[in-house]
């Protein structure tokens, strides 16, 4: 007996029986009238869905595992697709004569069809059934590619139908067509929030984690500090950042560069004196000295990184979102894919001894280099655009705001997101490095490795899976937190979500939320993939 399949059938069946399938809304906001599957008058073919939903319950009693698996996969896939397709047809019928189905007083303007609860339970039930079937197939060791096909057939068919316009009747698609043009830009913005803040957060977080793992006394302080950051509400953080960033934006670029230079000298002096004196200082003085050095170094560094990141964001935003540089962005994408492909093939499909390996390596290196060059070209092209520096003519007139730093917009958003990404990154780096088997580190020392060799060849690879788990956590969290960036005028998918909440338009909320969820899932999967590719099978085995 296959209990999971039975559960799937129950979810879908009960859903179709008790929950409304569609709601006909007289306009974008008004709630409208709900329709159960059995209320699509005069048309019995929709009852196919109900029968299909209950089928897995019957099938779950079959004993032959393989045939049961295939039948469940078939039923689940069909149910998945039809749960979306059949109500769409019903919805089109409803839209033909909306007056007939709505109250007399309803304000009918561009009526919409909202997919309701039964569609969600139907999809869930279908997915559970499909999952149960694939599990059966895995049990009898059906070939992996057939399992994969079984798993992905329904989603792929659904995607094709979506592209074909079959689901255009649903309100979320209507919303997409109305605001879709902005969607792409918001999506790219959101993606860049996540990547840039994750990138900066990665450098800072891994650095702090490393520091914490090297200094037992500082570790609790560092972990506590990043933990505290996590508890600050984003709105409060934006409020705190607005004024100083606006002031910073007012500063002229040259003056800031000068300040940066002086601060750098101070930092170097502090660091130098620490290196020279620390051994002779008593413990407490040494800690104070260390902290002063750290702050002295961190302030100009943070300033520099902040300005640089904001500028890069602006460059990237102009470069990737304005159509003007489409050729270059296209080239970058192709080169990047080619580089990844040569790397993957070389690493996983060509044996060590093969003479092709060297060739692939050369190809990979040159493609990577070409990608880097293309990115630089794009940035150079984009930096020529008025939109980057706002057409400032002389260096002395250049302000930090012209480089993209301001109290509202992306600068505070990036800072906040970077800060929020720190906790998982620091914590996991610290845990990962601290859990490296001491015997292995000792063996490295005993073999005469330098500290950096030890770090890169032993500690980092061994801590890598844990650090990557932190990156994944941070990345997925940032996709969610990124939606808050809208309140400081930074854009991103949050624009849709917040506006949708403000005018209680579910469609608009979904228009922002669904891409964000998809982005989070894809990001998680991609980072998992990267982690899998970069983690040695030896370490994976140890973890298991």
């Amino acid at each position: 007996m296959n209990r999971i399949a039975m559960l799937g059938g129950l979810i879908a069946g009960l859903g179709f029986f008790f929950l409304p399938t569609l709601a006909l809304k007289p306009n974008r906001l008004a709630p409208g009238t709900s329709f159960n599957l059995f209320e699509f008058q005069g048309d019995d073919r929709y009852l196919v869905l109900f029968v299909l939903a209950l089928l897995p319950i019957l099938l779950s009693f079959r004993h032959d595992v393989e045939s049961r698996g295939w039948l469940l996969v078939g039923t689940g896939s069909l149910l998945f697709v039809l749960t979306l397709v059949l109500p769409a047809g019903a919805g089109r019928l409803l839209l033909e004569t909306p007056e007939a189905f709505l109250d007399g007083g309803a304000f009918i303007r561009n009526p919409r069809i909202l997919p309701a609860g039964a569609i969600a339970t139907g999809l869930l039930g279908a997915y559970v059934t499909l999952f149960a079937g694939v599990r059966d197939l895995a049990k009898v060791e059906v070939q992996t590619w057939l399992q994969a096909l079984a798993t992905w057939l329904a989603p792929i068919v659904t995607l094709l139908l979506l592209l074909n316009g079959t689901f255009d009747v649903y309100s979320i698609m209507v919303e997409f067509y109305a605001n879709g043009a902005a969607l792409e830009q918001k999506f790219v913005e959101h993606l860049m929030f996540v990547f840039i803040s994750l990138g900066v957060g990665f450098v800072v977080g891994v650095g702090l984690g490393l520091w914490a793992s090297r200094d037992e006394r500082l570790a609790p302080i560092i972990l506590y500090a990043v933990g505290i950051i996590q508890t600050i509400p984003s709105l409060a953080l934006f409020g705190v950042l607005l004024v100083p960033l606006a002031r910073l934006g007012d500063q002229s670029f040259l003056a800031t560069a000068g300040f940066f230079g002086i601060a750098l000298v101070v930092a170097v002096a502090l660091a130098g004196s620490y290196a020279l004196l620390a051994d002779r200082e008593p413990g407490r003085v040494r800690i104070v000295h260390l902290i002063a050095t750290a702050i002295g170094a961190a302030v100009p560094l943070a300033l520099f990184v902040g300005v640089l990141v904001s500028f890069v964001f602006r460059l990237a935003n102009v470069g990737f979102t304005s159509g003007a540089y489409g050729d270059t962005t296209g080239t970058i994408l192709v080169l990047l894919l080619a580089a990844l492909a040569t790397w993957g093939v070389g690493r996983w499909f060509v044996p060590d001894e093969s003479r092709w390996r060297r060739g692939l390596k050369v190809a990979n290196w040159s493609l990577s280099a070409a990608t880097a060059v293309a990115v630089v070209v794009l940035f150079v092209q984009a930096s020529g655009s008025n939109r980057v520096l706002g057409g400032v003519e002389s260096l002395s007139a250049l302000t930090i705001r012209d480089l993209g730093v301001s109290g509202i917009g992306v600068a505070p958003a990036l800072i906040a997101l970077t800060l929020y990404s720190l906790l998982p990154l620091v914590r996991n780096t610290y845990a990962g490095l601290n859990n490296v088997d001491l015997a292995i580190i000792d063996s490295g020392r005993g073999m005469g490795m330098t500290p950096s060799q030890r770090f890169f060849q032993i500690e980092l690879p061994l801590a890598f899976p844990v650090i990557m788990a932190g990156v994944r956590n941070a990345g997925v969290a940032l996709v969610g937190i990124g939606t808050v960036a809208t309140v400081i005028g930074a854009g991103g998918l949050g624009d849709f979500v917040i506006q949708g909440i403000v005018n209680t338009s579910i469609d608009q909320i979904l228009l922002g939320a669904i891409p964000a969820i998809a982005l989070a899932l894809v990001l998680d999967a991609v980072l998992r993939g990267v982690e899998g590719l970069l983690t040695s099978p030896g370490i994976r085995q140890v973890q298991q």
């Binding site: 007289p26 306009n27 974008r28 906001l29 008004a30 709630p31 007083g105 309803a106 304000f107 303007r109 561009n110 209507v174 919303e175 109305a178 605001n179 043009a181 902005a182 934006f238 409020g239 607005l242 004024v243 606006a246 002031r247 934006g249 007012d250 706002g390 057409g391 400032v392 003519e393 301001s406 109290g407 509202i408 917009g409 809208t486 309140v487 400081i488 005028g489 854009g491 624009d495 917040i498 506006q499 403000v502 005018n503 209680t504 338009s505 469609d507």
Partner: protein
């Protein structure tokens, strides 16, 4: 001959517009237009953006910026040059709690459109160097909305009638946000002006709720809600087919949308006032309701809605 003239004039027009475009009056220093984060603000922001762009200015679109505090702070800090504000908002957010300002504003300015505007505009100019242009006639103030069916059944279209109904023991459940329920110039001002009062059982207070949420509560009829807090220019009022109860005595502060500029910007480009004022003069309650509805109800983007309005009224091509 006619053909040649047409071609020539077209070429001249092209050249002119090209040169106009190449020599934006604010070359290299774009005017940054902001707005708060709800439909009317975004539409008004887009209206300003499109008007200025059409007039040849370089404009940075920062509409949909954030809440009241973010937008105002951004304006004061010079991060944006202009955003549409409401006199009522300014009074209640920046001048209501300051004793000297209260003293100066006096007791009854809030409901008096001219007095409240004059107060806010003069203080903002003097203290923050922020310049209010001419306010639109619309009044996006707090109001009470009921369903058309309920209004017709009980024959109630104004607040005095509503007060009578309440005092006669009629059944009422009001869905409201907490701010409106507690602010002295909010619901209590209605009580005082029209002589009625709702008990706690008759209120469903949703913390931080916007009219969109209270209106949806009314539309769905949940918890027997039959009256909802609303904004006067809500597009959703049309969608739900609600009736706004008239406020003949002006119990609420006036919220007239007005472009507010940084002094520096408007002094540099004083002609902007001439561009924006005629357009804002057209924004009365029905017009704004229609604009808001075309976004909220019909699902147009704010950009499209603004463009359609400006093109239809001949301000831009």
């Amino acid at each position: 001959m006619k053909k040649i003239l047409t071609v020539l004039s077209m070429a001249a027009a092209l050249l002119l517009s090209a040169s106009a475009f190449a020599q934006a009056p604010n070359e290299g220093d774009p005017i940054v237009v902001g707005s708060k984060q709800f439909t009317e603000q975004i539409v008004l922001g887009k209206v300003i953006v499109q008007l200025l762009e059409d007039a040849g200015y370089e404009v940075t679109d920062r509409t949909n910026l954030g809440g009241t505090a973010v937008a105002r702070d951004a304006l004061e800090a010079g991060e944006i040059d202009v955003y549409p504000n409401y006199n009522g908002t300014a009074i209640s957010n920046w001048y209501r709690d300051i004793p000297w300002a209260q003293e100066a504003i006096g007791e009854d300015t809030s409901g008096d459109a001219y007095a409240s505007f004059a107060t806010v505009a003069s203080y903002d100019a003097a203290i923050y160097d922020l310049i209010w242009l001419r306010p639109a006639p619309a009044n996006n103030t707090y109001a009470l909305a009921v369903t058309r069916q309920w209004s017709e059944e009980n024959g109630i279209t104004t607040l005095p009638e509503f007060a009578e109904y309440v005092n006669a023991g009629g059944e009422v459940v009001l869905s409201t946000g907490d701010e409106f329920a507690q602010r002295p110039d909010g619901l209590p001002s209605f009580y005082e002006t029209y002589g009625f009062e709702l008990t706690e059982d008759q209120l469903i207070i949703i913390a931080g709720a916007t009219p969109a949420q209270t209106e949806q509560a009314l539309a769905s009829g949940q918890n027997n809600v039959n009256v909802a807090m609303a904004y006067g220019t809500d597009g959703a009022l049309l969608a739900y087919d609600f009736v706004v109860l008239e406020d003949p005595l002006g119990a609420q502060p006036v919220f007239q949308p007005t472009p507010v500029f940084r002094g520096e910007t408007i002094r540099a480009y004083p002609e902007i006032a001439g561009i924006l004022n005629p357009v804002f003069a057209l924004f009365d309650n029905p017009t704004l309701q229609g604009l808001n509805a075309s976004v909220e109800v019909d699902g147009l983007s704010a950009d499209e809605a603004a463009r359609t309005f400006l093109v239809d009224n001949g301000f831009i091509d």
